[in-house]
Symmetry: none
Subunit: 207 residues, 4 copies
C-alpha cells in the first residue's frame, strides 16, 4: 500500500504542488513555480491536470485520502478499551502530521477554497463528506465506550467528536504557528481530562 519508490509523474506533480501551495497559498502559487518545483516544464502540468484548480483539488484529495488511510489503520490496530483507541487515534493523527507540519497550512487553503474558488461546491462537498466520515468514526468509538459501560457521562458522541477534531486541528495549527508548542502533550492532557469527564460524570451523583 505504500507509494511506489519512484512515484509516477502525476504524483510527483501533486507532491510538488502540495509544497508550493503550502508555502504560498492558492493564489500566491504560480503554475510556473509548481513546474519548477517538480522539475518539469510548465506545459507538462496540463498534460495531467485540466487547470490550476483541478491540480489543487488533486492535492486536496491526496492529503485527505492519505490521512484517512492512516487514521483507519491506527483505529483498527489499537486494542482494548474505547479510551485507548481514542488516545491512539489522537496520537497517530498528530504524529503523522508533525513531520510535515509545513504542509499543514494547506488545510487552511482547503477551507478557504470552500468559499473562494469557482469550484467551491466540489470542495465544500468533499470537505463535508470527509469531515462527516471522520466524525462518525470517532463518534462510533465513543458510542462503543458507552455501550460497554466504559463511559457514562450524558454527552452526545457526535458533538464530542466534533470538539475532538477541532482540538486536533487547532493544536496542529498552533504548532505550525509556534514551533515551541507541543501539540502531542496538549492533546494527551486534553484527552486525559475529557476521558476522565466521560467516565466520572455520574460517580458524583452516585454518592
Amino acid at each position: 500500500m505504500a507509494r511506489k519508490a519512484d512515484p509516477t509523474k502525476k504524483d510527483r506533480i501533486i507532491e510538488a504542488a502540495a509544497r508550493v501551495f503550502a508555502r504560498k497559498g492558492y493564489s500566491g502559487t504560480l503554475m510556473a513555480s509548481v513546474a519548477q518545483e517538480a522539475g518539469i516544464g510548465k506545459g507538462t502540468i496540463y498534460e495531467y491536470f485540466r487547470s490550476k484548480e483541478a491540480l489543487f483539488y488533486a492535492v486536496f484529495e491526496h492529503l485527505m485520502i492519505s490521512t484517512g488511510v492512516q487514521v483507519q489503520a491506527a483505529v483498527a490496530a489499537a486494542a482494548d478499551s474505547s479510551a485507548l483507541r481514542l488516545q491512539a487515534l489522537a496520537d497517530t493523527l498528530i504524529r503523522m502530521w508533525l513531520p510535515k507540519l509545513d504542509l499543514y497550512s494547506l488545510v487552511m487553503e482547503f477551507w478557504s477554497a470552500t468559499t473562494t474558488l469557482p469550484g467551491r461546491r466540489q470542495f465544500k462537498k468533499a470537505f463535508r463528506a470527509a469531515y462527516t466520515e471522520f466524525r462518525d468514526v470517532i463518534a462510533d468509538l465513543i458510542q462503543s465506550g458507552y455501550d460497554s459501560g466504559e463511559f457514562n457521562a450524558p454527552a452526545d458522541p457526535h458533538q464530542i467528536a466534533s470538539v475532538l477534531i477541532g482540538s486536533w486541528d487547532a493544536l496542529l495549527l498552533q504548532a505550525w504557528l509556534d514551533p515551541e508548542f507541543d501539540p502531542l502533550g496538549a492533546s494527551r492532557q486534553h484527552m486525559q481530562l475529557l476521558l476522565q469527564g466521560l467516565r466520572s460524570a455520574q460517580p458524583t451523583e452516585a454518592q
Copy 2:
C-alpha cells in the same frame, strides 16, 4: 470646505469589505465589489486605505478588536467560580459569532493571509499576539481555579487553553459549514466534561 467628511465612512467601508471578503475570499474579492457593496466609487476606498491588503488588514483588526472587547467584558462580568467564568466566556464567544456566522470564513482568510500575502509578517505577528493574549486570559482563568482549589487535575493551563480556543474555533467552523449543527450545545457539553475532568481527576484514582 468641500463635501464634508463623513466620519463613519471608513467603518462603513470596513464593514462592506468584511462582507465581500467573507463571501469571496481575499483573492476573489474585487475592489470594485467592495466599492459597490459600500455604495461608493472605486477610487474612494483609496482615500481611506493604501491598498487592498491594507483594507484587509483593517478588517482583520476590526474583528480582532471587537471580539477582544466583547470577550473581556464577558469575563469581567461573570461571577463566582472559575468554571462559571469559563462557561460564560465560551457562551459569549459563540453567541457573539452565531449571528454573523457568514463572516466566520474571514478567520480562514486571515490564517491564509499569514502565508500568502506580501505583508504576511504583519498578519502573522498580529495573529500570534491576539492568540497569545486570548490564550493567556483563559489560562489565567484556569489557573485561578487551581489556586482556589476548584481544580486539581494535573494539567497545564496553557495547553488546556489552547485546546479550548481550538474547540470553539472548530465548532464555529462546523456551524458555518453545516447550518444544522448546534455549536452552543456542543460547546456546553464539552465544557461540562472538561470541567468535570479538571475537578475529579486524581481523587478518584487516589481512592
Copy 3:
C-alpha cells in the same frame, strides 16, 4: 513693467507650477503637488486654469514672454557694433537663466509637449513662432553686421542664428546637467571664434 511685489494668485500658481513641472516633468507632476506648492486647495487651480495642460501652457507662455522681454531689452540697450550686441545678447541670455537653472528642464518638457500632449499643435505653433522670432532678431543683428561691413564671411545669417540659439540651449542644458560646467565662459569663447570667423573669412581674399 516689473511684476507686482505681491503677484496675483494666478501668477503664484504659475510660478508654483513652474517649479513642480521643472522638478517632476509634466506627467510626473500632480495637480495636488502644484496646489500644495502654491499653498492653496486643489480645486482652486481650476478656478484659474481649465486643465493641467492649460496650466502647463500658461507656464510655457510665462517663460517665453519673460525671456523674450529681457532679451529684447538687452539687444536694445547694447551699443555700437553688431558683434558687441551679439555678445551682449548671449551674455544676457545665459546670465538670466543661470540663477534659475533648476527651471531649465522646463524647456525640455516644452519640447516634449510638442509631440506628446493632446494640444501639441498649440505648443508646436507657439514654440515655432517664438523660435522664429528669436532667430530673426539674431539674424537681423548679423545682417546689420554685414550691412555695415563689419562681417564679410559668406554665411547665411539665419543659419548662423540657428546655430547660435542651439549653442546657448546646449550650454545651459549642460550647465544644468553638470554644475561644474561654465556656460558663460564657453559661450564667450564660442562667440569669439565665430565672430572672428565672420570677420576674417575674406582676409585671404583681401590679400
Copy 4:
C-alpha cells in the same frame, strides 16, 4: 521545444517601441500600442523587458550605442587634418539622423526621463557618460589640431566641443520642427566659420 525563440524579436520590439515613443512621448505611449506596432501580444513585451521604463531604457541604449558606433567609424575613417575630421564627424552625425528624423524627438524624451522617471538616476548617469565620452572625442580632435599647429586661437577644446555638440543637437531639432530647414548646410557654414576662427585668431590681434 515550444515555439522557437526568435533571436531578433527583442530588437524588433525595441525598434517598434522607438517609433511609438518618438511619436507619443514616454507617458503618451501605451504598452498596448508598442505591442501592436511590433505585431505581438501585449504580454510578450514583458517576456523581454521588465517594465515600460526598462523598455524605454533599452531604446535609449540602442540609440546611444548605434550613434556612438557610427560616429567612431566616421572619425576613424576621415583622414588628414583635424579640421577635415571634425567636418566629417559633423556631416556623418547629421546625415545619419536625417533619414530617421522622426526619431529625434526621442532625444527630448531621454532628457526628460532624466528628471521625470523613477529610474532617472540610471538615465542621468548613462546620459552624462555618453555625453562626456562624445565630448572628449571631439575635444581630442580639436586638441590634436592645436598639437599639429593647425589651430592657434586661444580656446578650450572641451568648451568648443560642448558648443559643437549643442549646435548639432539644435540643428537636428530644428530640422525636426521645420522640414524646410537644412541642417547640413547650416552645420557646414558653422563649421567653416568656427574652423576659420580657430585658425585665424591671432592675425587680428597681431594687427
